[in-house]
């Protein structure tokens, strides 16, 4: 049993991280706002972001859900905007999705992200009304029709992977700040109260990581529901704790923290919200 990323998987993660860190700085994201950067979208397409799991004969890389999870974790880490999961899942089925020339979103009842920016909308979005989105980097519409459908397990898993990446980033941000920021003549990270906030963030992130990676390997729907539940918790609570570590600075628009929290709230609602995940996990007992 080698439940650790292989050398190839590590290399893939490094490559994606370098690409995204170079292209998704915070100033770039803020300037773009709720618009898709088409050039970046095509660049993601060229890098194989959407076609990763397509067979090589169809122009993909022939990789699996574990690799996709690692890539989406990196996307979550840098707050990469756009309907990434829907476009990834549409690769091979919707022309232009695989190479990043088309932006695809999905309406399955409830909330639809990026409806106006998308070239293709899957599902029934009739009667959709705009919502003033809490996340300034994710435009939302609400669809009045019935209850949301059964989400595809892969979509839930990849959303959980984005949450994991966000949790990892807010943890690193909080730890860095706790080492730099001095109060009472010492770095605030020397105070046990701050230490314990950071330790809690790590514990939630590591548990979510084990859950997300294992669910990516097994692709078991119940395990995926558990991974989403724990990754949602790690991302939402991690962002809140990061905000708390930053004190008054954390409550400002300038700090990056609120963007992670707001995106984590949106992702927690998409795919498989907590109540439905818990019901699925209970039914499996």
């Amino acid at each position: 049993m080698r439940f650790q990323p292989t050398e190839d998987q590590r290399a893939l993660r490094r490559g994606v991280r370098e690409l995204l860190e170079a292209r998704c700085g915070r100033d770039v994201l803020r300037a773009r706002g709720a618009r898709i950067d088409r050039a970046l979208w095509r660049e993601l397409g060229r890098a194989g972001f959407f076609s990763l799991r397509l067979p090589e004969a169809e122009g993909g890389a022939g990789l699996g859900l574990p690799e996709a999870a690692l890539v989406f974790e990196e996307a979550g880490r840098v707050l990469l905007p756009g309907p990434l999961v829907a476009t990834h899942l549409a690769a091979g089925a919707v022309p232009g999705a695989a190479d990043g020339t088309a932006v695809v979103t999905r309406a399955d009842g409830g909330l639809v992200p990026w409806l106006e920016e998308a070239d293709v909308v899957l599902g029934d979005a009739s009667g959709a009304v705009p919502v003033t989105s809490v996340d300034p980097l994710t435009p939302l519409h609400r669809v009045p029709s019935g209850p949301p459908g059964e989400p595809e397990p892969a979509a839930v898993l990849l959303t959980a992977a984005e949450q994991l990446g966000s949790a990892g980033r807010t943890l690193a941000t909080a730890v860095r700040y706790a080492k730099e920021r001095e109060q009472f003549g010492r770095p605030i990270g020397a105070f046990q109260a701050v230490k314990h906030l950071c330790a809690g963030m790590l514990v939630r992130t590591e548990l979510a990581r084990a859950a997300v990676y294992a669910a990516a390997v097994t692709a078991d729907p119940v395990e995926i529901a558990g991974a989403k539940l724990l990754a949602d918790e790690a991302a939402v609570q991690g962002a809140r704790d990061c905000l708390q570590v930053h004190g008054g600075m954390g409550f400002t628009w300038e700090a990056e923290v609120h963007l992670h929290l707001k995106r984590a709230w949106v992702r927690a609602e998409l795919g498989l919200p907590a109540a439905r995940a818990e019901e699925a996990l209970a039914a499996a007992l």
Binding site: F3, A190, Q192, L207, G226, L285
Partner: protein, 377 residues
């Protein structure tokens, strides 16, 4: 990333499963807590059976993955865990194996593996629990003996133990973490007094141990004089490593029983309660995956468990307490009936966030050693 086991590992699992199926029906039920001599006999007999079958040393020599499979299969089969042999098998044994001389290994390891000798742990003191480095029990060299005076507390199995892995201060002038020495002390030595302590569960599971000029041969020292802290860290890395892995399997079994009970007694219709059970399913599933992750990491880096064990212990101890609180909500008034195993287990679980380093100390370890935050002092 892979979650399948090798053919060799699966063969080990199949052999163990086959053996457990034959061996377990012959094992009498475990005597109740409090009857320590009977418990010792029971647990030692089981250890002897493991020894005769070739499984006794699985905690020491086997690969971490084999240890995981061993814990998974014994727990799944409902076989007893290490019980009275806990300290010998999981602490003292691995420490002596790693740090002892050939003579020490030959003297102490075989009786531990055969279940012939029981060990207890003399680490904690009334003024040195989680702050272990402040321990004060003194050992003064006199010829070829150390003369030990002081007191230990929270010592499990002290009444039935043959040996104690004892931490003593040999240099009071040295900084706290230096000047500590690791000794193997015979529990029948003159000057050793054991006084059982009653836990909140009502049973005497641990004891105070008073040491009044106890003479311990210098030959019983494991590691160098004043180097006991480093030796102890080797011990604790085992304690926090995979020692709890099997209990996650037990928790998953317990959770399934609880869901069955809730379906039978009507509490399943309570949405909030049902969702709590669902969340616990996610918790214990992920804790099992985290164990596999930590073991795979340990295997890749040479076998000694890392600080990942602290991450696991923090979440596990809280999840297990939440399991019993949820059980109380499912069982209703029955949860107050002390004759039920559930109720006794619930009381025992209150120790999980305290024993083997409190959750607060574990958070400090995580923050300082993994995240690199500055020390408090």
């Amino acid at each position: 990333m892979d979650l399948t086991y090798t053919e060799e590992e699966e063969a080990f699992r199949a052999g163990l499963r086959h053996w457990l199926k034959a061996a377990l029906p012959a094992l009498p039920p475990r005597p109740p807590p409090g009857d320590w001599p009977a418990r010792r006999a029971h647990d030692s007999a089981w250890q002897r059976a493991l020894y005769d079958a070739g499984y006794a040393d699985v905690h020491w020599d086997a690969s971490p993955t084999r240890r995981l499979i061993f814990l998974e299969e014994t727990e799944r089969a409902g076989a007893p865990y290490v019980g009275a042999n806990f300290v010998g098998l999981l602490h003292a044994g691995p420490t002596i194996a790693a740090e002892g001389t050939p003579g020490q290994r030959a003297r102490w390891l075989p009786p531990i593996l055969r279940g012939d000798e029981i060990w207890c742990q003399g680490f904690s003191e009334p003024d040195a629990g989680s702050d272990l480095a402040s321990l004060r029990t003194r050992a003064v060299r006199d010829g070829d003996c150390y003369v030990v005076t002081g007191a230990k507390v929270w010592t499990s199995h002290a009444e039935i133990a043959d040996w104690c892995e004892l931490l003593v201060r040999t240099d009071p002038q040295a900084p706290r973490h230096r000047g500590i020495t690791w000794l193997a002390m015979p529990m029948d030595a003159p000057g050793v007094t054991v006084r059982p302590l009653r836990t909140l569960a009502g049973s005497a599971e641990f004891a105070e141990v008073f040491l009044d000029e106890v003479r311990v041969p210098v030959a019983n020292r494991v590691g160098e004089e004043n180097d006991g802290w480093r030796v102890t860290m080797v011990t604790l890395s085992f304690e926090r490593g995979t020692a709890f892995a099997g209990e996650v399997v037990a928790c998953r079994r317990t959770l399934a029983e609880l869901a069955r009970t809730a379906r039978e007694n009507g509490r399943w219709d309570d949405t909030a309660l049902r969702r709590r059970l669902g969340r616990l399913n996610a918790e214990f599933g992920a804790l099992w995956r985290l164990t596999q992750w930590n073991v795979a990491e340990a295997e890749a880096t040479g076998g000694v468990p890392g600080t990942g064990g602290s991450v696991f212990k923090l979440r596990y101890s809280e999840a297990r307490q939440e399991l019993y609180d949820t059980a109380a909500a499912v069982l209703g008034p029955d949860a107050l009936d002390l004759s039920r195993a559930w109720t006794r287990d619930r009381l025992s679980s209150l120790s999980y966030t305290i024993a083997a380093g409190t959750s607060q100390i574990q958070r400090n370890i995580v923050a300082e050693r993994i995240l690199g935050l500055p020390k408090e002092r």
